[in-house]
């Protein structure tokens, strides 16, 4: 477990081509690291939204960092469609792996349990299944008559990446009720977390926080990054910056507008960070 000085150093630990599991927009998204990945020109990322994504996938796709997008949905929520995602789909510049929320979560849970697959009800007769040759259908061996059921292959991401409210100096990370972050950390080979605050007290000695704390056993690195999820919101900490995202969606309606947004937000921030 390494305590990194900033979001940029965490981004540097994530290589080109990594399969990265990321949480939904409201669960705690490592946006500062996302901007750093873009600044550093990361390429061919395979994003696994657990189970959906928004501004994070949108920006990474717009900046050309993504080759595969696996998700049950990419949306800017209240702000509407994700413009770069939609453009990338239409021009086939990313490979899509559309799925449904519980399938992605179940597959991550299979990864967490070290089992090669997990069954799930539903999906039969959908085009989601039709376009996912990696999902298999078998006859339920416990069924009394024909009972087809989908088997999902386990997902073991190279990296889980998210933002959380709190960590201690040992690298234990408190996630509160956003329990899916625990699943991500268990399933992934490496887990990097930006936190709003690193505290001196041991989260394990805190009877109330310990049950919602990811043990450092699963954590490869943390960095204290204030407002690490901005402009998205962070549970327990701050709300989404709606005006910023509204402005983004307006600007990114054209590729030129997206380039302008990036020029004035991502590069500049990095320049500031380098000063």
């Amino acid at each position: 477990m390494i305590i990194y000085p900033d979001a940029e150093s965490i981004a540097q630990a994530i290589p080109d081509g990594a399969q990265i599991a990321i949480p939904a927009s409201r669960s705690g998204v490592a946006m500062a690291v996302t901007r750093a990945l873009i600044s550093q020109g990361r390429r061919n990322l395979h994003l696994i939204a657990a189970p959906t994504s928004g501004f994070q996938a949108e920006m990474l796709i717009g900046a050309g960092c993504v080759s595969i997008m696996e998700s049950a949905g990419v949306t800017m929520d209240e702000q509407g469609q994700a413009p770069c995602f939609v453009r990338a789909v239409k021009t086939s510049t990313i490979e899509l792996r559309d799925s449904t929320c519980p399938a992605i979560i179940s597959a991550l849970q299979a990864g967490e349990k070290g089992i090669p697959f997990i069954p799930m009800r539903g999906l039969l007769g959908s085009d989601l299944l039709r376009y996912r040759p990696d999902y298999k259908v078998i006859d339920n061996p416990f069924g009394e008559e024909d009972d087809p059921i989908v088997l999902l292959p386990a997902i073991v991401p190279d990296v889980a990446l998210f933002n959380a409210p709190l960590a201690d100096r040992n690298g234990n990370v408190w996630v509160g009720s956003t329990r899916e972050l625990m699943t991500l950390a268990h399933a992934a080979k490496k887990t990097y977390v930006t936190v709003e605050k690193i505290i001196d007290d041991d989260l394990y000695k805190d009877k109330l926080r310990a049950p919602a704390t990811i043990p450092n056993l699963y954590i490869s690195g943390i960095a204290e990054v204030e407002k690490g999820a901005w402009p998205l919101g962070q549970p327990y900490e701050y709300n989404i910056d709606e005006p910023h995202l509204e402005n983004y969606v307006r600007q990114a309606a054209t590729p030129e507008g997206f380039a302008e947004y990036m020029a004035s937000n991502v590069t500049m921030e990095n320049r500031n960070a380098a000063e």
């Binding site: 949306t75 239409k90 449904t100 899916e180």
Partner: protein
């Protein structure tokens, strides 16, 4: 289509739809809905009140109206356990067999129009007994003969485990039930100020017409009073913008 501010009825379209949906939730022990579904959410809160509290309402991601603390898996596990009696789904396209499309128009994956994605539909449509399809826009663009992409099918082959599925379709023009045996929608009521012809003109799929086809009942004054008072206050918690626009609270 009368706008709420120019209607000659003393209720808005939102209030009408809330009452229509609320009636469809009768007898349900637990209804869940998304945080961006204010009309179904309001309907659920109204039904909770009318049931004397025996209907439980979970509004996802709402601070005070959700039960989740086991991460995003819990909603789906809970539905799989049979603990969710009703849920709402929508579709960029909905077809006459109850298939819904949340993915895009045209051929997959290079769509002519791409939407957000299928979210939980590919699972919840199979396991929640009473799925209410809700889409305000009722045009040949949304109500199509055959969807371009099946996020979740309305019907399943015999043998497929399917305790759930479509129960009704509510739009700005009317309310359909879903006939699982026949595998299609049946027009039950037409909202005030709309006609069968208008619905037929704006629907891309065939549907049957209920024997007792009638006008959608308008909300009773007591119901409106309840809605605009206590329910509006409750709705303002998960859906502040909606409550402000519709009821000014």
């Amino acid at each position: 289509m009368p706008q709420s501010n120019e209607t000659h009825y003393d209720f808005s379209q939102e209030e009408l739809l809330i009452c229509v949906i609320s009636r469809l939730l009768k007898g349900i022990e637990h209804v869940a809905c998304g945080v961006s579904s204010p009309i179904p959410g309001s309907a659920a809160l109204l039904q909770r009140k009318l049931s004397g509290g025996s209907t439980r309402v979970t509004i996802l991601l709402s601070e005070n109206l959700q039960f989740l603390n086991d991460g995003v898996t819990e909603l789906f596990d809970c539905a799989a356990q049979g603990r969710i009696g009703a849920f709402f789904l929508s579709g960029g396209q909905i077809d006459g067999k109850g298939n819904i499309n949340l993915v895009g128009v045209g051929d997959y994956p290079q769509h002519k129009a791409r939407w957000s994605g299928s979210f939980g539909s590919g699972f919840l449509y199979f396991v929640v007994p009473r799925v209410i399809l809700f889409r305000e826009e009722h045009t040949r663009r949304t109500m199509v003969e055959t969807v371009d992409f099946i996020s979740a099918p309305g019907l399943s082959e015999p043998g497929v485990y399917r305790p759930g599925g479509p129960y009704a379709l509510v739009t700005s023009l009317g309310h359909f039930s879903f006939d699982k045996k026949r595998g299609g929608f049946c027009l039950e009521t037409i909202h005030p100020d709309h006609s069968l012809e208008e619905i037929q003109d704006n629907t891309g799929f065939d549907f049957t017409i209920a024997d007792g086809l009638k006008e959608t009942p308008v909300p009773e004054p007591e119901l409106l009073e309840l809605l605009r008072g206590q329910i509006a206050e409750e709705v303002a918690d998960p859906y502040p913008k909606f409550a402000k626009v519709v009821w000014g609270v």
